[in-house]
Amino acid sequence: MHKQHVKGKMCRASAAVCGAVLAASSWAAETAQSAAPKINDPARGWDSLWHEVIVDITIIGILFAVVTAWFVFTSRRTAGNQTGASPKLSAASAVGWTVLPIFIFLSIDLYTAANGWVLWNHYRDVPADRLEVKLESGMYSWDYTYPNGVRTQNELIVPAGKPVMLRMTSRDTLHSHYIPDFRVKEDSMPGRVTYLWFHPTKPGEHLVTCAEYCGVMHSYMAGRVIVKSADEYAAWMKREETQLAAAGAPAAAETGAPVAKPAARPKKT
């Protein structure tokens, strides 16, 4: 919404700055544009970019290792007083051996950066048609609040097919809401609001685990994302709503919303 808007602007402003450098890869810009209308599932994008980068670094690594191994095995010392016989570099080739690698490395860097940036935008631009849930983390639980006031703990129940956005904060230490299956995490902190989103497509269960050291029981701080079919989700939500209503408005007013630290005014990230 409005916060989202500011974020988009900031992102674009920074894009302009980096763009001067990154525009080198017009390919990136094209992908970003053609990507706008449909939902770009970041998890899919992650898998393919990760795969690509791993293949690239494997090739570079093998090339480098082979050359090194070749130099090493052809250079064994055969006589005690032998010294190396490598040619002396001329001034021109010394410069060449500096400038050429710089350009090669720089182009690999910028290519990787351009790809990473496109995927970054998918991770940060949340589709408008989404389910937005508030998350408050605490030692040691994940507490979710749905738009209609329904609350759950350690179980995030969502409908298949709809993007889910978490707006996160913490009531005590740092935590990080990590869903390995959806390739995403982001820290939750006291006094700040952060967000992440993911795109559950079919019913199933996914582990949520804490990825930021938060205290003694850090390694036990886990939960689940439970993806239900749209119908089952609607039915579940209906039950929860009825229960919430039965609990009664006065009760809700009395206990108040989930306990949040008072004066902590969230900052935008």
Binding site: A15, W50, I57, G84, G191, Y213
Partner: protein, 523 residues
């Protein structure tokens, strides 16, 4: 040998050896912590302790002591002290007494760090000490702050000392372009220490003030901000990895060029492009440690580009190392094996860092064992191999005796195989989701066999390290005399007797016009 003479020594070589002894002791303790952690992780659920805090304290100690008590002091304390004056033909450092002070402070720091085990509530805040946890834990955060402050201070006065020494005390004829790569690297590291340590000092002081004096720098409920600490911390601690990297790669340059009897390939490219490039970029990449911490989006994207660009100076240095091997004359001594091991480990570590420079990719792997595996390759183990290469390489010089070559090689192969088993496996399960800093992995039962493999690997690795250390102790006591220049190196430190006397040379050495620390053809 007189103990008092050693404690009150101002001779740079002895100060260096004191640093060596202290840092190896720290290494042993931190290594035992690693083995305890690996033992705990060998099964799901409690294994050797039922209290997660014990694991967290071991992890804190392991991380903090390995970095602040072992690698930084071994590199900028031992190697810098022992080698720099000898390499530039000086009698000693510029301020020998300040030098003695720095090693005393280092011992105070190490003793403080090791006292962790004798106080009732040891720190359990990891070596990063992030608030709010570090300000609310029952663990002793002050201990952490003081350890860091004292070791940092020791390092700063060391830095001033060495910059002055290299600037003013070079022997006649040793121009800037004839400095050993190691000297340049160490200068780069000290420049970074002088600029960035004060920021770390600030950060760790402020958390203790928040915790004990009721200030609220990082408490949002009272107007503070938790992210500020992380920025301050990494504003130092990223450059800190170059404070480790630069001297260790400098050692590798010396070892490879000596044992391959080959001039460093493209010397000026290494000095100006490599070392210069790293010093320039070091302060502009810290946000890559905060990619999932909710930093502003534009900052995350901007620092993706600067972080990726680190590949340029580092790549130039790798090209030079490999170029040095071209048509060389390699003797496969123990130090050479360790140095070649560094090239291999660092290649893997460096390349696996490329995905970690990309914020969108780190959203899945940040804070997992992928990161732990990566930084052990690139810094922890590569750095340790380099330190071992250097100790073996200069062993004949500082002890006057020779180590045992066979045991040296056995130790090398054990550590080399062990490290790859442990840290490759870490990266593997990290990509599949295993988070770091976990006392238990009850909800990741699929990783149990991988964890057991790593525990076995760690035992092999630890055995290899222990063999190396024993090899030095025995060699220093009863190895055969080594001679002045067993490797046939033209570098200046090999022109004096082994071990060098106080003052290093009877009269200041002078060098020929065409001399260079890597001019092997004449040697």
């Amino acid at each position: 040998m007189n103990l008092k003479e050693w404690i009150f020594t101002t001779d740079h070589k002895r100060v260096g050896i004191l640093y060596l002894i202290g840092s190896l002791a720290a290494f042993a303790v931190a290594g035992i912590m690693a083995l305890l952690m690996r033992a705990e992780l060998s099964t799901i659920g409690p294994t050797i302790t039922a209290n997660p805090t014990n694991y967290n304290v071991w992890l804190y100690t392991h991380g903090a002591v390995m970095i602040l008590g072992f690698q930084i002091p071994a590199l900028t304390g031992f190697f810098a002290n022992f080698c720099i004056p000898l390499m530039i033909g000086a009698k000693d450092v510029a301020f020998p007494r300040v030098n003695a002070l720095s090693v005393w402070l280092f011992y105070v720091g190490v003793i403080l760090a090791l006292a962790t085990f004798f106080i009732p509530d040891p720190p359990d805040i990891m070596w990063t000490g992030y608030p709010p946890y570090s300000t609310i834990t029952t663990g002793n955060t002050a201990m952490y702050s003081f350890t860091v402050l004292i070791l940092g201070f020791a390092s700063i006065i060391g830095g001033v000392n060495f910059l002055t020494t290299v600037a003013y005390m070079r022997a006649p004829g040793i121009t800037l372009n004839k400095l050993n790569i190691f000297v340049w690297c160490t200068l780069g590291a000290f420049v970074l220490q002088l600029i960035f340590v004060p920021v770390l000092g600030t950060a760790v002081s402020l958390i203790s003030m928040d915790k004990y004096l009721g200030t609220n720098f990082f408490d949002p409920a009272k107007g503070g901000d938790v992210l500020t600490y992380q920025n301050l911390f990494w504003f130092y601690s990223h450059p800190a990895v170059y404070v480790i990297f630069l001297p260790f790669i400098g050692v590798v340059f010396e070892v490879i060029s000596s044992h391959a009897r080959s001039a460093v390939f493209n010397y000026k490219m290494v000095v100006y492009g490599g070392i210069g490039g790293i010093v320039l970029l070091a302060g502009e990449v810290w946000v890559h440690h905060l990619y999932v911490s909710g930093m502003a989006d534009w900052l995350r994207i901007g620092q993706m580009v600067t972080t990726l660009m680190i590949s340029i100076p580092v790549g130039l240095m790798m090209i030079s190392l490999v170029g040095t091997l071209y048509k060389s004359s390699i003797a496969f001594t123990t130090p050479m094996l360790y140095a070649l091991g560094v090239v291999f480990l660092f290649l893997i570590g460096g390349l696996t860092g490329i995905p970690l420079a990309v914020p969108s990719l780190t959203l899945a792997v940040s804070d997992t064992y992928y990161v732990v595996g990566h930084f052990h390759y690139v810094m922890a183990v590569a750095g340790t191999f380099a330190i071992f290469a250097g100790i073996y390489h200069w062993f004949p010089k500082f002890s006057g005796r020779m180590y045992n070559e066979l045991w040296g090689k056995i130790g090398f192969w054990l550590t080399f195989i062990g490290s790859n088993v442990v840290f490759w496996t870490m990266m593997d399960i990290g990509v599949d989701g295993m988070p770091r800093r976990y006392y238990d992995y009850a909800h990741f039962p699929q990783f149990e066999s991988a964890h057991q493999l790593m525990t076995a690997g760690a035992v092999v690795l630890g055995l290899g390290f222990a063999i190396a250390v024993l090899n030095w102790i025995i060699g220093a006591m009863k190895g055969p005399p080594a001679g002045d220049n067993p490797w046939g190196s033209p570098s200046l430190e090999w022109t004096t007797v082994s071990p060098p006397p106080h003052g290093n040379w009877p009269s200041p050495p002078s060098v020929a016009d065409d001399w260079h620390p890597y001019s092997y053809r004449k040697g």
